[in-house]
Amino acid sequence: MRIPEERLERYRGLKREFSEEDHINLQPIQRGGVLSEEAMRAILEFGDGYSVCDWCPPKSARLDAIETPPVSQFYTDLAEFLGMDIARVVTRCREAKFIAFRMLGTPGDYVVVDGLAHYSSYIAAELAGLRVKEVPVGGSPEFRVDLDAYASKIDEVKRETGRLPAAVLLTHVDYQYGNVNDARTVGKIADEYGVPFVLNCAYSAGVMPVDGKELGADVITGSGHKSWAASAPTGILALNKSLEEKVLRRASVQGDLTKRAFAAKELALLGCTVMGAPLITLMASFPEVVRRVERWSEEVEKTRHLVRELERIEGIRQLGVKPKSHTLTHVETEPFFEVSQRHKRKGYFLYDELRSRKIVGIQPGLTKHFKFNTYGLTWEQIRYVADSFIEIAEKYGLNVH
């Protein structure tokens, strides 16, 4: 079918509704994925379809064997950086979780997950044919995952099914409150029971130091577009050598007529995975990522400063563990909700006020509570955001201490 020209016009000159060059973007899932300068350059060079495959070795035609650009070296460096033995780049963190679940379990098995796990952890388990056993989460305001309960949940699975769960999964930093869980506790429990430990590092690896060996992780999953200054879609699957045969098992299928076989291909990866812009931006940003995790404590300090400033507005409080140990933050903002009830723009007043000060990323319409992320902002930008919130509070007669 021919699409009319006027409709095709919609695809010309695609632009975002705001520019990162003129606004401060606090969107909770976007800060860690902001591209580095090198990545912006690389995307122009390698944006074309299969351009990273110019030098794909004909005898071992596999993405992880490409040496120019240095994909092969990158996979090695990526594993080392995460304190793991092997790394692969896949489409998303959820795909990495699915691959781990699918290859470690058999249908009907359980996977034990924290009660604050991302929905994609549940869906990955379902697609892999696994059932989910949840570890409880404490109440407000801290919402701590009861890490010690992993042991009782593993026992529960064993009593119910007569066998151990296929894996346990811990969300290193949860998406709701930005709490950093002590992965070592779960790593130790998983090791004692001999159950593979999958650590979901979507919000941690790439922005803060993560050492899989130190944390006792058997598998690490990560998100390039969330935390590695890379374009979407990029996921990271890193594992220990002991799981290589299981998780990265080679394809064994053979055509019944042609007898064609594909023994070099890694089955669960369906052969080659992410190429082009996502992979090349992940690689190009890697040096900056290696350097930036060393500045993590300063990033956290900036977040704490902003939280302190926001809590000067009477009635506003940070949810989750205090003080903050991650830049993803959830705040309860009842006073702004009260303002919204008498404002003609209702819940959108806060968005409007922030937008007029060139601050974006707080979900439009939310005033009762919202999330934000300050990762990568300069001190000057942090102070600008703090001053803006105080100014808005004072404008609407809220008490500021």
Binding site: E20, L44, R357
Partner: protein
Amino acid sequence: MDLSDCIDGIIGEMIALKQTLRKTAPEHRLSEDDLKRFRESVNKAEEMLKSIKKELGEGST
């Protein structure tokens, strides 16, 4: 420099400037270092634009 090198060079300089804008948004209070970098990038880009014009047989006006 050939045409494609000049074009890549100009884009590279502009990308560097975009990064500076991102770090200073929304007020763009540029430090001495930022200003220096801006001037250097603009000058380099200007030189490359001149090369392109020359390559195309046009004057530098």
